[in-house]
Symmetry: C2
Subunit: 450 residues, 2 copies
């Protein structure tokens, strides 16, 4: 039986089981729900066991527990670690919900309720595909599950837990359904997110604020110096000037860029939504490429001197800025922090002292389009949707996936089936049944083509 038929035959039961999970208000940010977190984790263990894993357990972490499960197939086969999370966003504001957040229903072709998509509905698909592979005797890989309970609060405990359980979690791929695709008509696969390195700089001139009349023109003004230094960081073509900055950036092939370029993009709509009359960025790249496959540098905050009403005629002692760089897969945040620091100190003019602080960094991950995993995912989704999916790149960062890739040294495969319309994190979260079904079909085919 193909997955399509298996779904048709079992969908009622699938929804019953999913709804059991959806009814548990596993809000990770609210300590009042501590017991619900355990209840939800245990429910998932139950579902996994019923689906056919060898072992499934609720594992303690420094925070909410992680569900770990495993099905061994063949030591020589590839091992896939399915990542998901069972915690959800708070349901507030309650009055805006048209249905009750924890009383899931099917209506208008969608599942409604908190977690219907994010991420209960999405990780549940993996449990059911796994069940299908077992029952239909189609399993060809070793499968592990890691379903955490702290994603919505930034996964504070997971990295440490993964480090402590590296062996247990050893895998070749990390398979994740926790993101969106562009649309049902334009299916897409997220092939990477940018990482980040966040710095804070301080430029000190005179040892106190001084009178801008008495000293203006004769000493280095730390604000002017900071502005010049910041301006120096990016050249007229939008390239970052820090020596070595691009050394580890993997240039995409023409073919890969062409594939990414298939994502729909309306420049007029883009500018209109931001209220801007023009875009700018690195020469030679499109807007989507600039946020997807290229690193960048932005000042996130700047301050110094007098910022109140009217005027104060000072040259301030100090000027400050928060400067972050978005990084692309294969760039090391640590290395970039060092390169930035060295360069920023080197461009300080005489007459000021400069300090640079590393605030935090990390978060790059990526799946090469040339990898068998990408090809399998692309083929699977293409077959289900009847159109080749667009590889997409996110501009932001998902730290937990970056951490997992780094700690487990396994490539992440992001097969997300959510849609913008699903309103995750908002009242009236939903998940289209059509996506729920196509998602399961796609995942089943992914295993087939892997």
């Amino acid at each position: 039986m193909e997955m399509k038929q298996y779904i048709e035959k079992n969908e009622k039961r699938f929804l019953d089981e999913l709804f059991q999970e959806l009814r548990i208000p596993s809000v990770s940010s609210n300590p009042a729900h501590k017991q619900d977190m355990y209840r939800c984790a245990e429910k998932i263990v139950e579902l996994l066991k019923a689906a056919g894993v060898d072992t499934a357990e609720v594992c303690e972490t420094a925070g909410h527990p992680v569900v770990f499960a495993e099905k061994k197939f063949d030591p020589k086969a590839q091992t896939i670690l399915v990542y998901g999370h069972y915690d959800v966003q708070p349901e507030e504001p309650l009055e805006l919900w048209k249905t009750k957040p924890y009383e899931p229903v099917v209506k208008d072709g969608a599942i409604w309720g908190r977690g219907a998509n994010d991420d209960k509905g999405q990780h549940f698909m993996h449990i059911k595909v796994f069940e299908y592979l077992i029952r239909e005797k189609k399993l060809r890989h070793n499968i592990k599950f890691m379903i955490e309970g702290e994603e919505e609060i930034g996964s504070p405990s997971l990295a440490a837990w993964m480090k402590a359980n590296k062996k247990k979690l050893a895998c070749d791929l990390i398979l994740i359904s926790d993101t969106t695709m562009i649309s049902e008509k334009v299916p897409s696969i997220n092939t990477g997110m940018r990482g980040m390195q966040y710095m804070e700089v301080c430029v000190t001139g005179p040892n106190k604020d001084v009178h801008s009349g008495h000293y203006g023109g004769a000493i280095v003004n730390p604000i002017n110096a900071l502005c010049k230094m910041i301006d120096t960081l990016i050249d007229k073509d939008g390239h970052i000037t820090i020596p070595g900055f691009y050394d580890d950036v993997i240039e995409l092939t023409r073919a890969e860029r062409k594939m990414l370029g298939r994502a729909p993009f309306d420049m007029e709509e883009y500018k209109k939504s931001l209220g801007i009359d023009g875009v700018a960025g690195e020469k030679g790249y499109t807007t989507l490429e600039r946020t997807g496959i290229r690193p960048c540098l932005d000042v996130n905050g700047i301050w110094g001197g007098y910022t109140g009403e009217g005027s104060k005629t000072i040259i301030p002692s100090t000027a400050h800025a928060k400067i972050s760089m978005r990084l692309v897969p294969n760039q090391s945040a640590d290395k970039i922090a060092k390169l930035f620091t060295k360069y920023f100190l080197s461009i300080a003019p005489k007459g000021v002292k400069v300090t640079v602080k590393n605030i935090h960094g990390g978060g790059c991950f990526g799946l090469p389009m040339s990898s068998p995993a990408f090809k399998a995912a692309s083929r699977a989704i293409g077959e289900v949707y009847g159109i080749e999916p667009v590889p997409s790149r996110g501009g932001g960062s998902i730290t937990v996936i970056a951490d997992a890739q780094k700690i487990l040294k396994a490539a992440p495969v992001l097969m997300g089936f959510g849609l913008e319309r699903d309103l995750i994190h908002s009242p009236n979260e939903s998940y289209l049944l059509s996506q729920f079904r196509k998602g399961m079909e796609s995942i089943a085919l992914f295993y087939k083509y892997l």
Copy 2:
């Protein structure tokens, strides 16, 4: 009789009279002293009348009164308007005074008390020199006195009063003793102060703060844009790049610069006092020239984006800066505001909107070293001190003098006899008797050589 002898003969009486003025706590910033302001103004009228003016009166303004007095000599002779102020700084903190602030005494060769120098002691010298000219029949000019009561609070009412009394105040020169000289061994004449034009700019990018991951690298970041625009305002030689900015700057002659260069200046001491390891500024000028005779541009404040602890990954909607330009005599603040605005808007990149606000401007004044008034002052001081005085230029602004020069179209002659050691505005204000005497001698000779 020369002034020197006249002083010797009358000094006891001079000090008695000055002390009557010093005993009045004419603190302009404290409403509790409102009546003291009138008492002090009337005391000065009394002193002026006794000295021999034709008329002397307490004139109402929007704030504290101004004393105006006049002695007509000859319609064809030059008219000198003596400016001074009878208001003083508050005496607090009282516990730090070694004598009582309003019980003046002579001790260790100095007059001690609030206002001993600033500006009661200094304007009093002019009354006594005038008395000498009358009694010794040496008067050769028309003399007017304008002694205001609001200098210590920024002269809020004087400009309007001067505008309303232009005819009454008509004069050729404004003679002022309200500043310092470098030292008794290095007497100096202040030949000008810089003016100022203060602007506030705002750069707006996206219509809201946006996620720096999603948009970083693809849209113009208003902070980065502001930094670039600020950096563009000054070139690598320290020249301001605003077209037309230097058009009205009067270049000093080599001889004038040489004279200014005689002012003592210790670069190591300068750097040490500011805690800096280098100075910078416009190429081709010394540090004293950079603050004295050259205009400059400084950012006085900058702000935008996230400025709290840690990190926030935004591209802010707006970035702001306060930017002021110090101007030299003959530059028009209004014109500079227009040039700045035009240029700053012109260098805005596509993708941001820029607004420029004129906060305020004004304040340039200067006395050409080639003028007869400067020459007379220089000769007078040179004769009394036995060494040619150094012409000096102040980097800051004295708005009231700039206003007076502008409204009355008369050149200001700043013969200041204060010294750094006099601690004006602080506890234990004093005025050296030697400076008091040399001041009167110098002023008398100034009239002689004018």
